[in-house]
């Protein structure tokens, strides 16, 4: 089975994130980069599928040179090889362009199943999986908290407000996962040492038959017009228990759709 897991490097959520004033894109240089948290679940799931069905896990990353650190980490967790799409022409691409560029690479390298996190902690579009599936003409199984593969069939549980849907499709397919689908492993030192020797294929736009005019900041379909710093966090609501505390807490939780 040829499993491709899409991994994005994002600024560490523990650090303060900033937009660059010159072109209103995310400042990726000044902060530590980490693997987008949901992608760690995607990596874990891809490794579990490989362990259960044999095959190979390829990491696919589009991002600047620095993203190589995240690729290395995914390889140290146990992925077999990686493709790093890196080109200055890609800087500032929006989700439409990203999905175009990544689909071109996926066409080139082939896949039975593509797994990715359901959104990234930086841009939070949550649309890449759907766009990839559409561009590649394969089924999309979104928001999975459980994945099973049986021959040419893939079954997932898709989380919803009311519980979950059981979804089934035939391979090849694109799957986006939510957290709690699994517990991502920490790489072992053996894995870390092995990662050094695993192949990382670096591709520029030309290598992947990507039309440079269709990617990058200038051709983006969306534009960040302005930005302001997030307001300080608002004061929370304090519920005083005057005999009806439980009731009020329940109402609050219901209003937030927690219960």
């Amino acid at each position: 089975m040829n499993i491709v897991v899409c991994v994005k490097q994002v600024p560490d959520t523990w650090a303060e994130r900033k937009l660059r004033s010159e072109d209103k894109t995310l400042d990726r240089e000044s902060v530590d980069g980490v693997i987008n948290e949901l992608d760690e679940y995607a990596i874990e799931e891809s490794l579990r599928i490989k362990e259960a069905h044999d095959g190979e896990v390829t990491v696919l990353t589009m991002g600047p040179e620095k993203a190589a650190e995240s690729i290395r980490k995914a390889l140290s967790m146990g992925a077999d090889k990686a493709v790093h799409l890196v080109d200055d022409a890609l800087h500032g691409s929006d989700v439409l362009q990203t999905s175009y560029a990544m689909a071109q690479v996926l066409r080139k390298i082939g896949f039975d199943v593509v797994i990715l996190g359901s959104e990234s902690t930086d841009a939070r579009m949550g649309a890449l999986a759907a766009m990839l599936a559409e561009r590649l003409g394969v089924a999309q199984l979104s928001l999975a908290n459980k994945v099973e593969i049986d021959g040419g069939t893939i079954r997932t549980q898709r989380v919803a407000d009311y519980g979950f849907d059981r979804v089934e499709a035939s391979l090849p397919a694109v799957v986006s996962v939510v957290e709690k689908i699994n517990e991502p492993r920490y790489p072992s030192f053996k894995g870390i040492m092995a990662a050094k020797k695993k192949p990382v294929d670096k591709l520029g736009v030309a290598d992947a038959d990507i039309d440079a005019a269709k990617v990058g900041l200038t051709g983006a379909a969306t534009e960040v017009v302005d930005f302001v710093a997030a307001p300080p966090r608002e004061k929370g609501t304090i519920v005083k228990d005057e005999g009806d505390g439980g009731q009020k807490v329940a109402e609050f939780l219901a209003s937030k759709k927690f219960i």
Partner: protein, 397 residues
């Protein structure tokens, strides 16, 4: 790492204390594990004193118990310095978990790797390196820890192809967990022709009749680490369980201790760093007289001094580790690192508690735990006095 070229000219690397990419990746991984998995559990473990079997299993899965051993024995193919880095990152968050790893590897498994026969290594290392089984080393006795040779009462006699062991060992780490499978003990096995007492090391697979552990000690710190008194009463093990040469037990143990001191130094540096991390966070957030307490120079300088001590102690243990990795004698450097970092760990813990005010005296705050956990570092694996004796001796005094 950059090539040794500066201005197009090849130069010799004179000093390089950067971690290589793999060790840095390991350090980061353990840092993340400690922050995400250990930290939320630390206060509860400290309170209950329960041994954290699940954390040990997870650390086993990450290969931490196998770091310094070759892959052929189930290890990770790393080195002792990699182990030190892992211990430091764990101790930044929790000393009990860190000492469990330290004792299991450097006291429990390392002597087998160093002095065991091929057969002993094949039998024991895969289990110990995976963390599925823990090993312990019983040297200290009620009659003495610093003067081990003089205080030793435990005897082992060879009878009918078996060692029959009698005696008591005190304060033995990892001796009484459900997954402890091996306790190596030192014992008197006779007298040398010189009239000196012959001390040997013998491997005791446990559980076993004639081997018993007392209930856990009630300790000041290291609550979730397992520390037991051991009693051996006509405890029999096969003759081939002798570890290393007969009469070599003590000398061998002393050389294991040199390495162990570097690991304890790493643990102490971790604790000192943990005190610093907590103090920076708290000082920025705690307000007094209308400003964060970090804005008082009295507090900021305390924190600056904590950083200086931690930084210096880390350099001391890196230096000792560097000599160890090169296979050079490092008795002096290991003693310096152990002495200095354990003493500054105690100082940093005291200062961190001070910065936290009354909250620092409350057990649920990490610094209160660090304060209680720090003191033993000046005692275990050679007291501060013993380190000074060693350093003085190295200086020819």
């Amino acid at each position: 790492m950059d090539g040794p070229f500066i201005g197009g000219r090849e130069v010799t690397v004179v000093l390089d204390y950067r971690l290589d990419e793999e060790r840095e990746a390991l350090r980061k991984t353990v840092e993340q594990f400690a922050r995400e998995v250990v930290a939320p559990r630390a206060a509860e473990l400290d309170e209950s004193g329960e041994f954290p079997y699940d954390l040990v299993a997870q650390m086993g899965g990450m290969g931490l118990f196998g770091l310094p051993f070759p892959e052929e024995y189930g290890g990770m193919g790393g080195d002792y310095f990699a182990l030190c880095l892992a211990i430091e990152e764990l101790a930044r968050i929790d000393s009990s978990v860190a000492i469990t790893l330290e004792a299991a590897v450097s006291l429990g498994a390392m002597p087998i790797y160093r002095y065991g026969t091929e057969e002993q290594k094949r039998e024991w290392l895969p289990r110990l390196a995976s963390g599925e089984a823990l090993g312990a080393f019983g040297l200290t006795e009620p009659g003495g820890g610093s003067d081990v040779a003089g205080g030793m009462r435990t005897r082992a006699e060879l009878r009918g192809g078996e060692w029959v062991i009698n005696g008591t060992k005190s304060f033995i780490t990892n001796a009484g967990t459900d997954i402890t499978q091996l306790v190596t003990v030192t014992a008197l096995t006779g007298e040398l022709s010189s009239g000196e007492r012959e001390i040997s090391a013998i491997m005791v697979p446990v559980p076993r009749s004639g081997f018993s552990v007392a209930k856990k000690y009630s300790k000041v710190g290291w609550h979730a680490s397992d520390t037991r008194e051991i009693t051996l009463t006509d405890c029999r093990v096969p003759e081939e369980n002798l570890l290393g040469g007969r009469g070599r037990g003590y000398a061998q143990f002393l050389s294991t201790l040199d390495e162990g001191r570097i690991a304890i130094a790493a643990l102490a540096v971790g604790l000192a760093q943990g005190c610093l991390d907590e103090s920076i966070k708290y000082a920025k957030q705690r307000q007094a007289f209308g400003q964060p307490i970090a804005d008082f120079q009295a507090i900021a300088f305390k924190i600056a001094d904590m950083e200086v001590r931690t930084h210096t102690a880390r350099l001391a243990y890196y230096r000792a580790a560097e000599k160890m990795l090169r296979g050079e004698p490092m008795k002096r450097e290991a003693a310096i690192a152990k002495l200095y970092s354990s003493e500054i760990a105690v100082t940093n813990a005291r200062e961190a508690t001070q910065i936290h005010g009354g909250y620092g005296f409350m057990n649920e705050f990490p610094v209160a735990r660090h304060w209680r956990d720090a003191k033993i570092l000046e005692i275990g694996e050679g007291t501060s006095e013993v380190q000074r004796i060693l350093i003085a001796r190295e200086l020819g005094l």
